[in-house]
């Protein structure tokens, strides 16, 4: 497998006629961990949802490609099959469908007709992955996200990511509401995929998870675009100085 490349070029997005993303440009390659930070309401979640094709968001201009393929022309399920994954900030609760049953259906959807995963292989991988993420085995027989605590939902997103093995993952506030032990487990999960065939874009408010993930690039988003990029140092700088510092710098030319 080749190294994936996600390219976002001058992306403009609206929601119900209101501009949310205003010319965002970003490239994520396999082997790289990118972090996006920024205050609330600057379009971080909108970016994640747009990348996955949420029908609520309308792309008005710009391009997004994965390995040169135009993903904006794809349906959400086609994007997933192309190797894109979004760990959601608020995962849906699906009543009556067990986590195990859902995961098997999802894996088989990605593998396609006639290439279904054998049950034994599936069970083994599921058991192994859940053990790795320090999850209670009973978890897989519970209905998907139904009655899960915030932390359980986030862990379940990582479980899904490890089971589905995407090539490019967007993690939307995967750390919010987690205690330090849970953050370590989540970070361990993400790092286990790291390598030339996996790229990730981590959206967060907090520096803490980044201290475990050690991103190669940190971007600061404000008002629908990336206003500042740097290396991991930038996250530490933000932690000590706060967003006001960036805001001041960013708004001077305006």
């Amino acid at each position: 497998m080749s190294t994936p490349v996600l390219e976002i070029k001058d992306l403009h997005v609206e929601i119900e006629g209101k501009a949310i993303l205003k010319g965002l440009t970003l490239t994520v390659k396999g082997g790289e961990v990118h972090a996006i930070m920024g205050p609330n309401g600057t379009g971080k979640t909108s970016l994640a949802q747009t990348l996955m094709g949420h029908p609520h968001y309308t792309v008005t201009s710009g391009q997004v490609t994965l390995d040169g393929q135009d993903i904006l022309a794809m349906r959400t399920d086609q994007r997933a099959r192309a190797g894109l994954f979004l760990a959601m900030q608020y995962p849906s609760e699906i009543s009556g469908v067990t986590t195990a049953n859902f995961l098997r259906t999802a894996i088989n959807s990605l593998r396609g007709e006639g290439n279904q995963i054998p049950l034994k292989e599936f069970r083994d991988r599921l058991d192994e992955t859940m053990k790795f993420l320090e999850m209670d085995p009973k978890f897989s027989n519970r209905y998907l996200n139904e009655g899960f605590s915030g932390g359980e939902k986030k862990r379940n997103e990582i479980l899904q990511m490890l089971m589905l093995k995407p090539r490019m993952a967007v993690l939307d506030e995967i750390d919010s509401g987690l205690d330090i032990d849970a953050i370590k487990v989540v970070a361990k999960g993400v790092k286990s995929l790291n390598g030339p065939e996996f790229g990730s874009l981590v959206i967060t408010h907090y520096q803490r998870i980044l201290s475990y993930l050690k991103p190669d690039f940190v971007h600061i988003m404000m008002d629908g675009r990336v206003v500042k990029s740097g290396d991991y140092q930038l996250a530490e700088e933000l932690e000590s100085k706060g967003y006001e510092w960036v805001r001041a710098e960013f708004s001077t030319p305006l």
Partner: protein, 423 residues
């Protein structure tokens, strides 16, 4: 078809009854005439959310008689089959006949046990309730009669198929079941029809009498073609400590008005009811489930789950009716409806009518659209939209369908759900 006649005057109706039912006992002929005239007198039923006026039901010829032919598919798989309302065969396994179980076409039962039929016919279902019920009482073609003797425990389900051919215009079967004291049985009725060019009027009646401590697992699956306009009425009288479980799957017909009623007029009687329905295209479905608590310490629990897509329309009314004197009774109901399209419509109407203080009653009802975010979430994991909707619908229905105790019925309900999702 050998006769079609005007239906709006008494003379041809009377002549039709004489021609086709003339051999029947006098009491029954008189009964048919009485309901025939009631049918003519009564206006179209008024149903608040189901306008019947523009369905042109009066244009459907009802004075028809068709030859008895068994052309229904898989006929031999059923214990009893009616085709266009006429019973074509009735068979029971030897183990059942050896225990004294009786399964006959209703007309044959009239010959063999006239007193029993006379006593029971119309004693549970109210044939005066509306025009189409009166039509069934006047012109029922045939149907079945089932009798389970005291203490007999029938383990194998009794299966019944009601089938109609494409040219049928009026199908009026009648089911009469008597479970004697402490007996147990499972009965599944199925309704299937060929797609016709013209509308076909179905009016079906199922009457059930449960003597003391009898237990009936009653199942029904309705998968009539879109040309069917169906009126279905079922009622059970539940003896002391007796119990009925209704498991009803509703999938077909262009329009259906269906009611099932449990009359709990002896202490300790229980009724459990599960209705699963799935409407698509321009189907109109109007269901009513009623538990009437008359005696003390009676219990009812009614559950309905429905899925609506395209421009289908449904109404589900649950009625928990607790009469004065039904002390210590417990009546519960829960309805949930999931809508897969913006153009479908559903109403869930729980109704508690309580005249007694010392009772427990509870209801919950909801109708709402499928969660678009959940569909997106599942598609984000690679599931196609159809597959995502399918999973959500499965999850929605599973807690109810999986409680259906009869395996074959449960599988058939799932198969129908699957068919409707992909339709």
């Amino acid at each position: 078809m050998d006769t079609i006649a005007e239906t709006n005057t008494m003379a041809p109706l009377e002549q039709f009854i004489l021609d086709h039912y003339g051999q029947e006992p006098e009491w029954l002929l008189a009964r048919r005439r009485r309901y025939g005239s009631l049918y003519l007198e009564l206006p179209l039923p008024v149903r608040q959310r189901t306008p019947l006026k523009n369905r042109k039901l009066d244009r459907i010829p009802v004075l028809v008689s068709q030859p008895v032919t068994d052309i229904s598919p898989n006929s031999s798989m059923f214990n009893l089959v009616t085709v266009n309302g006429r019973s074509v065969h009735a068979t029971l396994p030897e183990s059942a006949t050896a225990q004294g179980v009786v399964l006959l076409s209703l007309r044959e039962a009239l010959r063999q046990s006239p007193e029993l039929v006379q006593e029971a016919l119309g004693s549970v279902v109210d044939d005066t309730v509306d025009k189409f019920q009166a039509l069934n009482a006047a012109l029922w073609q045939d149907g079945l009669f089932l009798y389970i003797p005291p203490r007999v425990n029938l383990t194998e389900p009794i299966t019944i198929s009601h089938y109609a051919t494409a040219d049928a215009t009026a199908v009026l079967p009648r089911t009469l079941m008597i479970l004697d004291r402490e007996s147990r049985a499972t009965v599944n009725e199925q309704y299937v029809s060929e797609a016709g060019l013209d509308k076909c009027l179905w009016s079906c009646a199922t009457e059930i009498i449960l003597h003391d401590a009898a237990v009936l697992q009653y199942g029904a699956i309705q998968q009539l073609s879109a040309s069917a306009e169906a009126f279905v009425r079922r009622a059970a009288r539940i003896g002391r400590d007796a119990r009925i479980d209704w498991n009803i799957g509703e999938f077909g017909a262009g329009m259906v008005v269906s009611e099932h009623l449990s009359v709990l007029d002896q202490p300790g009687g229980q009724t459990y009811s599960t209705t699963v329905f799935f409407g698509s295209r321009s189907q109109h479905q109007d269901y009513t489930a009623t538990a009437r608590h008359v005696a003390p310490h009676t219990a009812s629990n009614m559950t309905a789950r429905g899925v609506m897509k395209d421009s289908a329309r449904s109404v589900f009314t649950g009625v928990t009716d607790i009469k004065k004197g039904a002390v210590g009774s417990d009546g519960r109901q829960k309805e949930k409806i999931l809508m897969l399209s913006d153009t479908s419509r559903a109403d869930a109407i729980p109704s508690l009518l309580i005249e007694e203080n010392d009772v427990f009653a509870a209801h919950a009802a909801s109708a709402g659209p499928i969660d678009a975010h959940a569909v997106f979430y599942l598609m984000g994991r690679g599931l196609s939209e159809t597959e995502a909707v399918r999973l959500i619908v499965h999850g929605f229905l599973a807690p109810v369908i999986d409680t259906i105790p009869v395996g074959a019925l449960r599988d058939e309900v799932w198969a129908q759900v699957e068919r409707k999702i992909l339709e």
